[in-house]
């Protein structure tokens, strides 16, 4: 039996094609995935991401607990509402999950974790909690939903639907959130565009969805979400990294804070293993197919593998994220094995697209 979000009936009524996404019955598209993608790049798209799990980390020592649990340093979160992207690592330095951590009070941080890993994350945090001197609880919120409105006109359309929230959210900088009663509005996302992610009581999400559609935001499915995040050079857990992959080999070194002497789970392994692979973008030069996960990449330095690949609607070309042998550099030409052919691709620096602009050639 698939799990459903409170918006399930609205998705179905809108003609969504529903798929089993990690045990959740989710909309992959409502028609053309490419048009949904363009709507986000050019105007505003609306995503139901209520399958993701909100975890409240509460109690005395919440900050110290997260300083030890996360690879990025929550010490950076000084102002209430500030958010941080981080990995949570195993002792061996593999990625348990990637998440966003919001700071509200010294005794209250909020994590948003992936749907497919939520149960594992909770169990993992419980283990860390038992070992910690901090007196914290990790409380999964089953009563909340999450909607993302993304695109150059996303905020404007949000305020059109909710004019009363404009004052409290207009000044929000990137990776900052405002709390208004049970609602949290954050200037975050997974598309490379401006916009908000809104966490609100599940009982109110249908009304919000309808209000945002009425304000001109176009419903977009998980299909567009994937092409948008790939163009934006953002990793997907389970594809670009997992428990067997170091964040240093997944292009996530920028999220691992090794500057402070802080001890965190996985630090020792990262420091002794270092980086063993390059994680870079690929732009397909030849015609002949679409880059996909698990395709082999032949380079002068040895073989690599695509971790995520797709057709980029913005570029009109196929793009990918790939784990490549060390020594591979931006500008190199490599060959990807697609069925019975070897197609030339250029190594590029991700992101491919940000804020509607193409960044690679």
């Amino acid at each position: 039996m698939l799990k459903t979000t409170p918006l399930n009936a609205l998705h179905r009524a809108a003609g969504a094609r529903m798929v089993d996404f990690g045990g959740w019955d989710m909309p992959v598209n409502y028609g053309s995935q490419i048009e949904e993608h363009h709507a986000v790049r050019r105007d505003a798209g609306l995503f139901d991401v209520s399958h993701m799990q909100v975890l409240e980390v509460e109690g005395t020592g919440a900050r110290a607990f997260l300083q030890a649990a996360l690879a990025n340093d929550v010490t950076k979160l000084k102002v209430p509402g500030k958010a941080l992207y981080s990995c949570m690592l195993t002792e061996a330095g593999g990625v348990v999950d990637d998440l966003i951590c919001y700071f509200f009070r010294e005794d209250w941080f909020r994590l948003v974790v992936n749907a497919g890993t939520a149960a594992k994350d909770i169990a993992w945090l419980d283990r860390l909690r038992e070992r910690s001197i901090a007196r914290v609880t990790v409380r999964p919120r089953r009563d909340l939903s999450i909607v993302a409105i993304q695109g150059p006109r996303a905020r404007e359309r949000f305020w059109q639907a909710y004019p009363a929230l404009r004052a409290a959210t207009e000044a929000l900088g990137p990776f900052s959130a405002a709390l208004m009663g049970e609602w949290m509005v954050a200037r975050t996302g997974y598309t490379g565009e401006d916009g908000f992610e809104v966490i609100l009581p599940a009982t109110e999400v249908n009304a919000m969805w309808q209000a945002l559609v009425a304000a001109g935001a176009r419903p977009a499915g998980l299909g567009a979400r994937d092409t948008l995040r790939l163009e934006a050079g953002m990793n997907l857990y389970g594809q670009d990294m997992d428990e067997n992959v170091s964040p240093l080999d997944a292009g996530l070194a920028w999220t691992v804070d090794l500057k402070s002497p802080r001890a965190f789970t996985g630090r020792g392994a990262l420091e002794s293993n270092g980086q063993s692979r390059e994680f870079m973008g690929l732009l397909l030069l030849d015609a002949g197919g679409v880059l996909r996960a698990h395709q082999k990449v032949r380079t002068p330095n040895g073989e690599g593998e695509i971790t995520s690949g797709t057709f980029s609607p913005t570029l009109g070309k196929s793009i990918a994220l790939a784990r490549l042998p060390k020594g591979t550099a931006v500008g190199d030409t490599v060959h990807v094995v697609v069925r019975d052919k070897q197609l030339a691709a250029r190594v590029v620096k991700a992101p491919f697209v940000r804020q509607g602009k193409i960044l690679v050639t």
């Binding site: 094609r17 053309s32 002949g288 197919g289």
Partner: protein, 126 residues
Amino acid sequence: MKLPKDLRYTESHEWVRRESDGTVSIGITDHAQEQLGDVVFVEAPQPGRKVAKGESVGVVESVKAASDIYAPLAGEIVAANADLSSAPEKVNEDAFAAWMFRIKPANAADLDQLLDAAAYEKVASE
């Protein structure tokens, strides 16, 4: 679901149309394009190639996935639709107009062995 009565179909979601010159045109069904989503790449077989029934002869790729196209009957490839390499979205716009390749059947009667619209409808609704 669009399902022209005058075409033949396969269980692998190709449609097959008899042309006046004795060749048959092959494409993928409306049901198949809907399942695939936005088509971004079509690779049809080279004319001149001899193919067996059920042989994988081409590929359709959407944003989501790659899917093989199979020869519905034995024969020789006599034409490929070059329009689809530059405009693969035509498959989504009208799947039954977007023929991918033509075969000169080794045995013209093989066409009658394929599914009719009613039988394909059952396959597609499973």
